[in-house]
């Protein structure tokens, strides 16, 4: 299987980063202590040149800044919708596949920062909307914010396999989502709709009758259906979903599917569909634990084909990740 190597930050305002400065660049062989070019993924700039032009120093990192909260909508006790006013620059940069930010409560140390996906952007109001589910200490802390919040960004690696989504035009894309993980799919829908794609969305009902992102998907013209996708007790796909997905992949051309759930959800779905049609490409939301988002702390490190990668910055092919058992990766 082709293993593509792509750094989501390559060529951005934040490249070259500390990895390049220390000879650990994900892309550039010249910045991996080699003395020749072997540039497997080109995004329009030579990282080696950028580093030299920057005096052999990394560009400045993203930093926390304080922003105003415009509105908070408590959908459920543990599910809060935050709309935050940002700079135009940040809104523009966050209007991309897989965009996310780190947020924390003002005055709290940086280790309170947690990655949250951007669900929607509004250029007129210069705001972004995020769906926050209370999971643990960090999210409990964040939802105590009512007036302002500390935020750093933009980050973009919230969706893996973005290369399969970016250039799609006038085609069908299926999004399968569950829970709060379905929220980055809304922004993906927005981007995909700009290119004239038809978006069909199936959302797992979970504990509710309707996923909290449903209205946002509909806002961007997606065809949304709330059904039961997974039986979490038996860890199986439901008969209803299996019938529907079989019908869909047999009847219609769906070149790419975005799975937007937790790892069990993504794994079950990708394995099921890939075995029936291995021509379909997958993108999936990135569920790895992140602390710094800069490829330095190592908390997001995963093993793929025997090599460790930093999943906060590096893209992978979801098929490669989810098709293989943990031990074989």
């Amino acid at each position: 299987m082709y293993r593509f190597v792509e750094c989501i930050d390559a060529g951005s305002d934040f490249c070259p980063c500390h990895l390049a400065e220390k000879g650990e660049c994900i892309i550039c062989s010249q910045l991996q202590n080699k003395v020749f070019c072997d540039c497997l993924y080109w995004k329009g700039t030579c990282i080696y040149q950028e580093l030299l032009n920057n005096g052999n120093k990394a560009k400045k990192n993203r930093e926390y800044k304080k922003f105003d909260i415009v509105s908070i909508n408590k959908i459920r006790d543990d599910l809060h919708l935050y709309e935050v006013k940002l700079t135009n620059y940040l809104v523009r940069e966050l209007d991309n596949f897989g965009a996310f930010v780190f947020i924390k409560r003002p005055q709290h140390p940086d280790y309170f920062g947690t990655p949250i996906s951007i669900m929607d952007v509004d250029y007129e109001k210069s705001t972004v909307t995020m769906l926050i589910k209370i999971h643990g200490v960090k999210t409990k802390d964040i939802v105590e914010c009512s007036e302002n919040i500390m935020l750093k960004g933009p980050y973009w690696n919230g969706i893996q396999g973005q290369r399969f989504l970016r250039n799609l035009k006038d085609t069908n894309v299926l999004i399968l989502g569950r829970g709060v993980a379905a929220s980055p799919g809304v922004l993906a829908t927005r981007r995909l709709k700009i290119n004239g794609n038809n978006i069909k969305v199936m959302l797992d009902k979970g504990r509710s009758q309707e996923n909290a992102c449903t209205l946002y998907y509909k806002k961007y013209g997606a065809d949304v259906e709330n059904i039961n996708i997974i039986n979490y007790k038996t860890k199986n796909l439901t008969d209803d979903f299996v019938d529907k997905i079989d019908d869909l992949i047999n009847k219609e051309e769906v070149p790419v599917i975005l799975t937007a759930g937790d790892d069990d959800f993504n794994r079950l779905i990708i394995n099921y569909i890939y075995k029936r049609n291995n021509k379909i490409y997958f993108a999936s939301v990135n569920n790895h634990i992140m602390c710094c988002g800069e490829g330095v702390c190592g908390s997001c490190q995963i093993k793929l084909s025997g090599k460790y990668i930093r999943s906060c910055k590096q893209q992978y092919n979801p098929i490669e990740y989810y098709l293989m058992e943990d031990g074989n990766r």
């Binding site: 010249q30 072997d38 540039c39 993924y41 030579c46 080696y48 040149q49």
Partner: protein, 425 residues
């Protein structure tokens, strides 16, 4: 049979054309939107021993590209310092002509397509991968990705990216597929032990030169004037790829050749200094765009090969052009590319791959270059029919002649006349 050629410079075009003539299905993968690569800014044919080599290839049946070049020639049979009977083709029209010809023969050309990796099993390449993950399968592969650039190499071994015709920033850098397949690249050296060599000429916009110079270029094909004393830098010659143009004359004179652009026979020349010359007051560079500062770096990515052009250590990868050695020039690229295309088809058919006989210049240079690569001294040399050491060798061995009939007789006597016209499949 499917032959996959990666890299659409002169060598890749020759390889694709030859494989097609042999009867194979051919797919040619090119990173940019144009064929010919550096051939779009070259233009010099038939100078010195290249005359012999061109006629040998024509006698062997590889006349197609030479016929196209002939049609695009601006000046015939001109002399300039150290060089005799050169033809200059028009670089502004050659690409479209070659492209039309290859397409008319049914070569499947994929433009703006960058090959980045291989799927290899033991020593056999199963497929190549494009940057978007697409898999291209073939029975045999020919790598003609050259040895020039990309940007990182031009920075490390040169004076930075000079924005040359290869346009790496726009289309992405070349990747050495042989190295990806596990065969380590060989690097050429300069006399001072530094790796790589700098391209030896740049192009000026003819329209920016004075009317007098333009007129002389149009009429004679050559314009020569003295370099002011303070701008004479003989040390620059050592950096040059084109040792055939690394002569004293080329340091002390400004030599322009009319290839559609005004080809300036020096690696780079600071714009301010160039504009001090009479008739150059408005001059500007057209290739590389930053030709006042730098030029591309070459010979950083050669694959070890045998004399049939097959890569040593791999079953189904052939190479041509600069990828196959320290060759300089279009004629050299066409020679090596053609042989690679021919042998690629033979290898899949289970036929023995051929070597060109060393009694021909095109056979001798392939063999001689391969021997030279084995030692450090040889790695500092460049191999071209047009000059430097190899042209001397040609003369000493009696390989150099401009007698076309003699060349044809010789090829016929070897019983290989027209072999490159034979359909094998």
């Amino acid at each position: 049979m499917r032959v996959v050629v990666v890299g659409g410079g002169w060598a890749g075009c020759a390889a694709a054309l030859q494989a097609k003539k042999c009867g194979a299905d051919v797919i040619l993968i090119e990173r940019t939107d144009m064929l010919l690569g550096l051939g779009n800014v070259g233009g010099i044919m038939r100078n010195n021993g290249r005359y012999t080599a061109a006629e040998e290839l024509i006698a062997l049946g590889a006349d197609d590209l030479f016929n196209i070049i002939e049609k695009c020639t601006r000046h015939k049979n001109i002399d300039f310092p150290g060089h005799k009977h050169a033809d200059l083709y028009d670089v502004t029209i050659i690409e479209a002509n070659v492209r039309r010809y290859l397409l008319s023969l049914g070569v499947d050309i994929k433009f703006e397509t960058r090959a980045v990796d291989v799927d290899i099993e033991k020593n056999h390449i199963n497929a190549i991968y494009l940057q978007d993950g697409q898999r291209i399968e073939g029975d045999v592969y020919i790598e003609t990705t050259g040895s020039t650039g990309p940007m990182g190499n031009c920075i490390r071994y040169g004076k930075g990216c000079s924005m040359c015709i290869l346009r790496c920033p726009s289309y992405g850098p070349r990747v050495s597929l042989s190295q990806r397949a596990g065969v380590e690249d060989i690097l050429g050296m300069r006399d001072d032990g530094v790796f790589g060599a700098m391209s030896g000429s740049c192009k000026l916009d003819k329209n920016s030169l004075s009317e007098e110079i333009r007129k002389e270029l149009d009429e004679k094909g050559v314009y020569i004037t003295d370099v002011p004393e303070e701008d004479i830098h003989p040390e620059k010659l050592k950096m040059k790829v084109c040792q055939q143009y690394a002569l004293k004359d080329f340091a002390e004179k400004v030599i322009l050749l009319d290839t559609g652009h005004a080809k300036l026979m020096t690696s780079y020349y600071p714009l301010e200094n160039l504009r001090k010359l009479k008739g150059f007051e408005n001059v500007r560079f057209i290739d590389p765009y930053a030709g006042g500062r730098a030029n591309s770096i070459r010979y950083l990515s050669m694959a070890p090969r045998d004399n049939t052009m097959k890569v040593v250590g791999l079953d189904n990868l052939f190479v041509g052009g600069e990828k196959s050695g320290l060759f300089v020039g279009h004629t050299e690229a066409i020679a090596t590319g053609t042989l690679a295309g021919y042998n690629a088809v033979r290898s899949v058919m289970g036929l023995k791959c051929i070597e060109l006989p060393p009694t021909l210049a095109v056979g001798d240079i392939i063999k001689y270059e391969n021997e030279g690569k084995n030692n450090k001294n040889g790695l500092t040399k460049r191999y071209t029919f047009a000059g430097s050491e190899y042209f001397e060798r040609m003369k000493n061995l009696g390989l150099y002649t401009t007698d076309i009939e003699e060349i044809r007789r010789k090829v016929k006597k070897l019983l290989i006349d027209g072999i490159f016209k034979e359909k094998l499949i």
